[in-house]
């Protein structure tokens, strides 16, 4: 197991280097620059600014400087969009908000999705089952940027129950988290249902029934464990989509999260923020996928990593 983790962490190094290199060159080779859009600086000022950020040097030199800075000093550089702040500052400010949003959305999805999935599987081919699964396909089909505004119209602008936007206390979290969770609730409901249906039909469940165990005990002790596996393995890819989803939801609800900063920075051609955020996201992605694989091995002892 330890060797497996080490190997995966080692494999992460070339991936992260690739992410850094690809995004750096994409950003720096693109026409235009951070001081050429929108604000028209006098030529002298622009040159001075580029000098300050080291953007006047040849591209390979910039790349090596940046690489050296990131790898050996763990410094993601300055921001050109948010003057006088470093990329690290921006990430420290934005990442917690995005994490809170993402984590609450995934938690909602787990509870609602698994609940619906279990209910549907226990009442297989009933109207409850069909209803739940139709709602689940709907959940996969409604884009979150449609769902969010609709929720705002209904819950904020008509019923005045929740604030329509901004960020601060718990009431601000509910709408965005619900919006973001819809897709995952739907997927998890479907995964739980099909997993549980299959498990409930297996021999060891029949044995448990033959022993005279109560249905409740069978479900909790024996069946759920098997049914949860597909949900666990879905959590890895789900995180990747969750990161994309937070961008939209953050923009919809004006949340000062990483996604919002990223879009702002991309539009302002702030190379350092764009590369820095992409790197952070890639790192998170790798770590969570590793975590999912480890969790998988704990739940299912048949899986052994070499």
């Amino acid at each position: 197991m330890l060797r497996f983790i080490l190997r995966r962490l080692l494999l992460a190094i070339p991936v992260l280097l690739a992410v850094l290199t690809i995004s750096f060159f994409l950003v720096r080779l693109a026409p235009g620059g951070p001081f050429m859009e929108e604000r028209a600086y006098p030529e002298v000022v622009r040159q001075k600014l580029e000098q300050k950020y080291g953007l006047d040097k040849p591209i390979h030199e910039q790349y090596l400087n940046y690489l050296n800075r990131v790898v050996f000093h763990l410094d993601l550089g300055p921001s050109t969009r948010y003057i006088e702040r470093s990329v690290g500052d921006v990430i420290v400010q934005g990442l917690p908000n995005s994490m809170i949003l993402g984590a609450s959305a995934y938690l909602i999805a787990l509870v609602l999705g698994m609940g619906a999935g279990i209910l549907a599987a226990l009442r297989q081919n009933s109207s409850v089952d069909y209803g739940a699964m139709a709602v689940a396909v709907l959940g996969v089909s409604v884009p979150n940027f449609v769902l969010g505004p609709v929720l705002v119209i209904v819950l904020s602008l008509s019923l005045y129950l929740l604030p329509p936007a901004r960020w601060g206390d718990l009431s601000h979290l509910i709408l965005p988290a619900l919006t973001l969770s819809a897709l995952y609730t739907a997927y998890i409901a479907r995964l739980t249902r099909s997993g549980l249906v299959e498990v409930l039909r297996s021999d060891y469940i029949r044995t448990a029934r033959a022993k005279g165990l109560r249905e409740g005990v069978i479900l909790v002790r024996h069946a759920l464990k098997g049914a949860v596996l597909p949900v666990v393995s879905y959590s890895g890819p789900a995180l990747a989509f969750l990161l994309g989803g937070t961008i939209v939801v953050e923009r919809l609800f004006l949340i000062p999260g990483l996604g919002n900063f990223f879009i702002e920075a991309a539009n302002a051609r702030d190379a350092f923020i764009v590369v820095g955020v992409t790197l952070v996201v890639a790192t998170l992605l790798i770590l969570f996928n590793l975590l999912v694989d480890i969790l998988y091995a704990f739940i299912d002892p048949r899986i052994a990593y070499k």
């Binding site: 693109a30 081919n125 884009p143 505004p149 299959e198 990161l243 994309g244 991309a266 992409t278 996201v281």
Partner: protein, 299 residues
């Protein structure tokens, strides 16, 4: 994952005894899936509407009218008008054209790349396979949506770049599926026979291996289309995709969000049509999976 309407296995029917091909059998199963059939009809209707609808309308998608700004839905403007007095019905149909085209073309790109890559990797096997699949693993862990945003924001918001890129980021799963299929059939007798009589490799791949992997490929393609359409809408929503006056469903929804409290129809009509389309595509995809691959049904 599974589907709602149970399709009864047709093994007892006399037609099976007479021998039905896989495709006939699947077709029968698909027809029995009411939701899938309804979805197909709805999709057909939407396809016709977005193709001929704009031609029949008295308005064009970029025709502004200062006297008709933000009109509510009426007989003259079925979906109302937008902030520049453009007819929203026509804009929604044009948006549908773009969204569906993006979905189709990007899925085609991902189909070609994914099938080729997966088939070659699976058939050649050994070190080549190992290296090719390792590359797929690495690409999987790239935050692709972030890279796409960077590309669109920094280089070009050209719609063809969008097509190509969406296709280029969605072929990975297809490659894995095809590779798995090819691995499971490449050592069967008919492939060995083909090899023995000297059929060249590319023909073995094209004539023997790929056709036998077609079922899962069709299913996965049907499910790729809605997911690509969602990604396109997502990018257009962020202002990085289709640029006005041309519209996609994502662009229209984004414009609608700005006017949400006063003119909710601007958001609701395009949003609803897009949702119905995605809904139908997902149902049809699920139905096709159940029909083509009865073993994947887990109920």
């Amino acid at each position: 994952m599974q589907q709602t309407t149970p399709t009864v296995a047709t093994t007892e029917s006399p037609a099976i005894v007479a021998g039905t091909s896989l495709w006939q059998d699947a077709w029968q199963r698909l027809l029995k899936n009411r939701l899938a059939v309804v979805s197909a009809v709805v999709l057909g209707f939407i396809l016709i509407a977005v193709t001929v609808g704009p031609l029949l309308s008295p308005y064009t998608f970029d025709q502004t009218d200062a006297a008709a700004v933000y009109l509510p839905p009426s007989a003259a403007h079925w979906f109302g008008t937008d902030q520049l007095g453009r007819d929203l019905f026509v804009r929604t149909l044009i948006g549908g054209r773009i969204s569906l085209t993006v979905g189709a073309i990007a899925s085609l790109v991902s189909l070609v790349i994914g099938v080729t890559y997966g088939a070659v990797s699976g058939y050649l096997g050994g070190k080549v396979d190992e290296a090719m699949m390792r590359l797929v693993d690495i690409l999987y862990s790239l935050p692709d949506i972030f890279l796409v945003i960077v590309l669109l924001a920094f280089f070009s918001r050209d719609i063809f770049v969008l097509f190509a890129m969406l296709g280029a980021i969605s072929w990975l799963t297809m490659a894995r599926i095809v590779r798995g299929q090819v691995l499971s059939i490449k050592n069967r007798e008919f492939v060995e026979a083909a090899r023995a009589i000297g059929v060249p490799t590319h023909q073995i791949l094209l004539r023997h291996l790929v056709p036998n992997a077609l079922g899962p490929v069709i299913v996965y393609t049907t499910l790729t289309i809605p997911s690509v359409m969602l990604t396109e809408a997502f990018l257009s929503f962020l202002g990085l995709g289709v640029q006005p006056p041309l519209s996609s469903w994502g662009t229209l929804v984004q414009e609608g969000v700005g006017a949400i409290s006063v003119y909710p129809w601007h958001l609701l009509f395009p949003g609803a049509i897009m949702t119905i389309t995605l809904f139908s595509l997902n149902f049809l995809g699920d139905g096709l999976r159940d029909a083509l691959d009865p073993q994947s049904r887990k109920d």
